[in-house]
Symmetry: C2
Subunit: 530 residues, 2 copies
């Protein structure tokens, strides 16, 4: 029955740490190539959005300001725009959709310096954009006008790790992959994984409440972050770097900063509970003939794989065609093309038990005809290769020039209908087709287990016509199904005006009140979020 | 080697729902008996704590106020103190340590009525104590003086359950056990379990951020609560009853109310992610000779039982002697007495795999001599019986008259030293011994996996001398180890003045600011929390 299900190797555990380094190094390579080779010349955000105006309350930087920063920071901690110094890396987002005009980047090497900078900026009404790895997808980490950029890149030390409890304390600017490699050596694993792990910062991940590939198994950061160190807009350092799993002494203040996107304070330190490193991994790549069958396989996987299920991703046919265009030398895992594909990862403490559970599960769903074809990775290399067909999609969506990315939560049954509706709408508007049509197509993939769809509209150029066709259409669709217009990417600049599609006026009012409560001068990450 | 490890039955899954109903019915029985048979006559809190004064800002109830409440509520929704109506049930806490003097209990049947009540009380400056099942352990759910009691008991409907996602929406006043039984019928399980489940409310559990027995496996409520409906002190209803696992659109406001103990808003509805009901359970009861060995067993259990480990509890020798005095007819699980005992629960999707993992683990730790004796439950009845030796401790601690309960987080290595230090201190003060000495003894037990110790000081009477011997001694000890003075019980009235042992002045200041921000008149649950 399992025509294409390869026989798995047993008894040999995958070298998990190795996998991570290799695959992310690979992603890093593709990313860099993309970044500099894209055909799109990023326009200034202020030109693209003429209705957004610079807030005149904010001071324009003077030589006095610069002198102050020079008095507290070393030369290496200050980057000024000049003929020899191009600040594009800090002013432009990764998708090249947004471009600010900051002339000054500060990269302080201590929390105390972050405090001094904010205290000064608050007094002087200088707007500040906190920036981590700048891998965000909603334009939240780059300036809109001339805001000062405060990069956390030089706060990059592991502070402490306790191998008994698995609690890690580190600076905000530690790169996620470095944090993960560090705890992996001590048989733990960071409870979150995402494509940008080679660049994004731990602090940025927390500030944006990133979700990623393993939320299904390990839950959200609201559960795993145990403490934070935060510098408030007035420069006050709040040290809440606690390391207890349970602490019911007062309001859980740290929760407010998780997902606040740098609007009410700057996270400078993180205390987080890591998870025991699984001893065994399995990855299976399957085909199904309808999205209804994707759902069926998911319900079955949750029942039968249960505690060892660590990822359940789906990809539509077009997404794999795009991935193929990037993974040129790689053989497609299956013999034929199908409407939908599923990637299932299991991880557990006993390879034989996991193999047995997965085998039984696959036999069942194939015998019943819900799954039509599939392979199971035989070794670490195959495991990595199967993951690439999922991990390459974001890069591939972008390869023709640009991408409009939507990241939404929807009830499972409605998840794919948004992709179909979007393709229909783009076709009606006669925007899709071969060049010179501006749109390549809309594809869907994502974290089925979390009710989280990534809708990517691959384009050859960014233009207002496409944007107007997509927005607020996508948001209205999501709202009509009581979903979220941002499942994990956040609000940033892109979705600031669309929060009303997911939150009630009372909720938005409460949020605005909190912003004023903590940042009365509004200096932190203005023009964004709410 | 496994002298006392019984052969487990295989192939038969435990009737899990059955277990819950039986064991909690049993607990409820013991609880009621205790409640009315205790030798202690509860004194008024105002007499016990003469330094705490009634805030003159709060209005004393008038006949006009009563007339207003009569105009919006039915007769069944109003309870007034009178010759025929004793409000002790609402004025006294479960431990009989705290006793308020409220003359009025309102039990509204709709959220709109909660809103009208709060709006009126806010305008009139009438102090309000929100009350769920009144099973709290820090005096947080009963009045101190004449505060109006707003009981959520009549808001007790299941609103919605989605069997595909496992998301439950219910009123705050649904009893935890009822909620659990409801989802159990559809193959899900509430992600939290605690001894008071037969009385406590889902809303109360969330308002106090209760931890309980399975936090080790399913994490805290900050991760599993997806949405809340809250009535603010001014009567505004904030509907955030979302049902998405991922939603990054703005500050996660609901987090503030989780663990806020009714001080900034009253939770009236809860949306929560339940977990798939495990198909197989195992429970093992083990003996070890030192607390050092308790730690060793824990580290090994986490490595070897990993994803199926769902509870890891330890109990000291004295706690089991006390439990024995309550469990009169039950045979002690082991042949001899030992200094420490461990209860391990596994739960998973495949009984054979779980049995195999547990068997290998037990063989290893017994062969190495870390565990000296042990039994494994053979069937559902035995499983229930083993759990009783852990679950009966709170009741048994109370059986001689009263109990001073401390619930702290400590680094694992320091966890038991607090019990030893407390016993030494009580002996020095010559308070411990047979009657008429007031103290029976200090015992320790709790959730090793969460670094959470329950220190219970069983007493024959509550008196100031005992209290002064214990406090702030216990809090100072915890603070010196950077622990939390309240791991899961909260602050309430008991620990209001001790928050400084766990939180910095900046954090406390931020909390006080938040309280004022949301409850400027301070009407909600005064004299408590911060």
């Amino acid at each position: 029955m399992l025509r294409n299900i390869l026989v798995r190797s047993t008894g040999s555990n995958f070298k998990f740490a190795g996998r991570y380094m290799k695959s992310s190094a690979l992603l890093g390579y593709y990313r860099r190539v993309n970044y500099y080779s894209t055909k799109i010349q990023t326009r200034l955000t202020s030109e693209n959005y003429p209705d957004v105006h610079r807030d005149p309350r904010f001071k324009k930087l003077t030589s006095d300001d610069l002198n102050y920063f020079k008095s507290i920071l070393s030369e290496q901690e200050i980057l000024r725009a000049s003929e020899s110094e191009d600040l594009s890396f800090y002013n432009e987002d990764w998708m090249r959709k947004y471009k600010g005009q900051s002339k000054l980047v500060l990269r302080p090497k201590s929390v105390e310096k972050v405090s001094l900078i904010l205290n000064y900026c608050n007094d002087e009404k200088i707007a500040v954009v906190p920036q981590g790895g700048n891998t965000g997808l909603v334009g939240g980490s780059v300036p809109i006008f001339d805001e000062l950029i405060l990069s956390l890149a030089n706060l990059n030390k592991i502070r402490d790790f306790d191998p008994v409890s698995g609690i890690l304390k580190c600076d905000a600017g530690v790169i996620l992959e470095n944090a993960n490699n560090y705890v992996m050596e001590q048989n733990y694993m960071f409870p979150l994984d995402l494509g940008a792990k080679g660049s994004c910062h731990v602090g940025g991940v927390v500030a944006t409440n990133a979700g990623g590939l393993r939320l299904l198994r390990y839950g959200s950061l609201h559960g795993s972050v145990l403490g934070l160190e935060v510098v408030m807009p007035n420069g006050q350092i709040v040290n809440s770097m606690h390391s207890m799993r349970k602490d019911n002494t007062g309001y859980d203040l740290k929760q407010l900063f998780i997902g606040s996107e740098g609007t009410i304070g700057i996270i400078t330190g993180v205390s987080i509970l890591t998870v025991p490193k699984p001893k065994a991994f399995n990855v299976s790549y399957l085909s199904v003939e309808s999205f209804e069958d994707v759902q069926k396989v998911f319900v079955r996987a949750r029942q039968e794989l249960s505690e060892i299920l660590s990822a359940f991703e789906f990809m539509d046919a077009k997404s794999q065609v795009l991935a193929k265009s990037q993974l040129k030398d790689a053989a497609f895992p299956l013999e034929d093309e199908h409407p939908f594909y599923i990637l299932i990862e299991t991880s557990g403490s006993n390879k034989d038990h996991d193999d047995s559970k997965l085998e039984t599960f696959l036999e069942n769903v194939m015998e019943e005809g819900i799954v039509t074809d599939g392979v199971v990775a035989q070794d670490e290399t195959e495991l990595q290769n199967l993951w690439k067909w999922r991990e390459m999609i974001p890069e591939a969506s972008q390869a023709n020039g640009g991408v409009y990315k939507y990241d939404v939560s929807l009830p499972l049954k409605d998840l794919y209908s948004l992709v179909e509706a979007t393709n229909a709408r783009l076709s009606e508007a006669e925007l899709v087709g071969d060049s010179p049509k501006p749109v390549v197509g809309a594809i869907g993939y994502g974290h089925v287990g979390d009710g989280n769809l990534h809708l990517n509209v691959a384009v050859r150029e960014y233009n207002k016509n496409i944007e107007k066709t997509l927005e607020p259409f996508v948001y209205e669709f999501v709202s009509s199904k009581h979903g979220s217009v941002s499942a994990e990417h956040g609000l940033g600049f892109q979705k600031k005006n669309y929060i009303g599609y997911s939150k009630s006026p009372e909720e938005v009012k409460m949020m605005k009140d909190l912003k004023v409560h903590y940042d009365p001068n509004g200096i932190l990450n203005p023009y964004k979020y709410i």
